[in-house]
């Protein structure tokens, strides 16, 4: 595992993205392909294994992961709200009317 040297933050991003990885298999096999120059990352040289690129991948996965998480959380909240209001309606409809 080369990821042992990757800082915690990036690991967290990776973890966040991990769930979405399963859903998006096509995005995974791109790690080795990017022709990127390391111009805007201030990581000491010793931390980058030979041939290693700037970690665009965690950023990308974090971004897509966040989209999925945000939408799913919103859907879940809507779902709960819908369930609550439907329960309310049921109890109200069956409430005895004096």
């Amino acid at each position: 595992m080369r990821k042992l040297t990757i800082p915690l933050r990036r690991l967290a991003c990776l973890l966040l993205a991990a769930g979405c990885l399963a859903a998006s298999p096509a995005v995974t096999p791109v790690a080795a392909l990017q022709p990127q120059a390391a111009q805007d990352e201030y990581v000491p040289l010793s931390e980058i294994p030979p041939g290693e690129q700037l970690p665009a991948q965690p950023l990308l996965f974090a971004a897509y992961g966040f989209v999925w998480v945000a939408v799913l959380v919103y859907v879940w909240l809507l779902w709960r709200r819908l369930g609550a209001v439907q329960r309310d309606l049921e109890t109200l409809r069956h409430a005895p009317r004096e």
């Binding site: 859903a23 998006s24 298999p25 096509a26 995005v27 995974t28 096999p29 791109v30 392909l33 990017q34 022709p35 990127q36 111009q39 805007d40 990352e41 700037l54 665009a56 991948q57 950023l59 990308l60 974090a62 971004a63 897509y64 966040f66 989209v67 945000a70 939408v71 919103y74 859907v75 809507l78 709200r81 819908l82 209001v85 439907q86 309310d88 309606l89 109200l92 409809r93 409430a95 009317r97 004096e98």
Partner: protein
């Protein structure tokens, strides 16, 4: 209308979001930004949905103010919520992209700043709805209308403010191979937007119905 289309939009949205990762994965890499540019395919459609939500909320708000139709109020509330949701997506995916492309998490660039402001306006709208007390619906409708009317001003002023101090940012140009996944994702986001809008207005409708029923019961009990 929106709710009648719901079965169609949800199927299209699900199909779109299931297919999108494959299309995005197959899309070519952008020459200067490489892999990270692929955030684009979800980032830009989210931004467009944010603006769609803002204008929907504004127009529905105006309709509510002048006709008093509760449906327009619920549509405005739903659209403001979606504006905040998609705005949040834009504001989180944007810095992740910027970190790699520009080397900073945030840049006071015209587009970033105006997106943040639009997001703030509609968050304020939700805050009013939540904490404004009785009659907050009207207030929120007014805020949504003013917020939507303000979008061009925000964009204009922020744009000129920044162009006084220009900064070179890489604006992606869409070649073949990138164009198709982008339009596909845009369509998928539009379907998601319509689906969520339909569900959210339905929730609002049911809540209004439950309120009416509860009120009716209380009135019956009092007599």
């Amino acid at each position: 209308m929106l709710q009648r289309l719901f079965p169609l939009t949800i199927v299209l949205a699900l199909a779109g979001f299931a297919t999108a990762p494959f299309l995005i994965g197959a899309a070519p890499y952008e020459s200067t930004m490489g892999l990270v540019q692929k955030i684009f395919y979800f980032h830009v459609p989210s931004a467009l949905m944010m603006f769609a939500g803002a204008f929907t909320a504004g127009i529905a708000g105006a309709r509510y103010l002048f006709t008093g139709a509760p449906r327009a109020d619920r549509l405005s509330a739903a659209a403001s919520e979606l504006t905040v949701l998609f705005g949040l997506i834009v504001l989180v995916t944007g810095p992740l992209w910027a970190r790699k492309a520009w080397g900073v998490w945030w840049d006071w660039d015209a587009r970033l700043t105006s997106s943040l402001l639009v997001w703030l306006m509609f968050t304020a709208c939700l805050i009013v709805r939540r904490y404004g007390g009785p009659g907050a619906g009207k207030l929120a409708a007014g805020v949504a209308l003013f917020g939507a009317a303000n979008v061009p001003f925000v964009y204009l002023s922020v744009n000129y403010w920044r162009t006084l101090h220009p900064k070179t940012t890489v604006v992606p140009s869409l070649g073949p191979g990138m164009r198709e996944p982008f339009w596909f994702c845009l369509a998928a986001f539009l379907m998601l937007f319509l689906t969520l809008l339909a569900v959210r207005t339905r929730v609002g409708e049911l809540e209004a119905l439950a309120d009416d029923l509860a009120l009716e019961r209380d009135v019956v009990r009092e007599h």
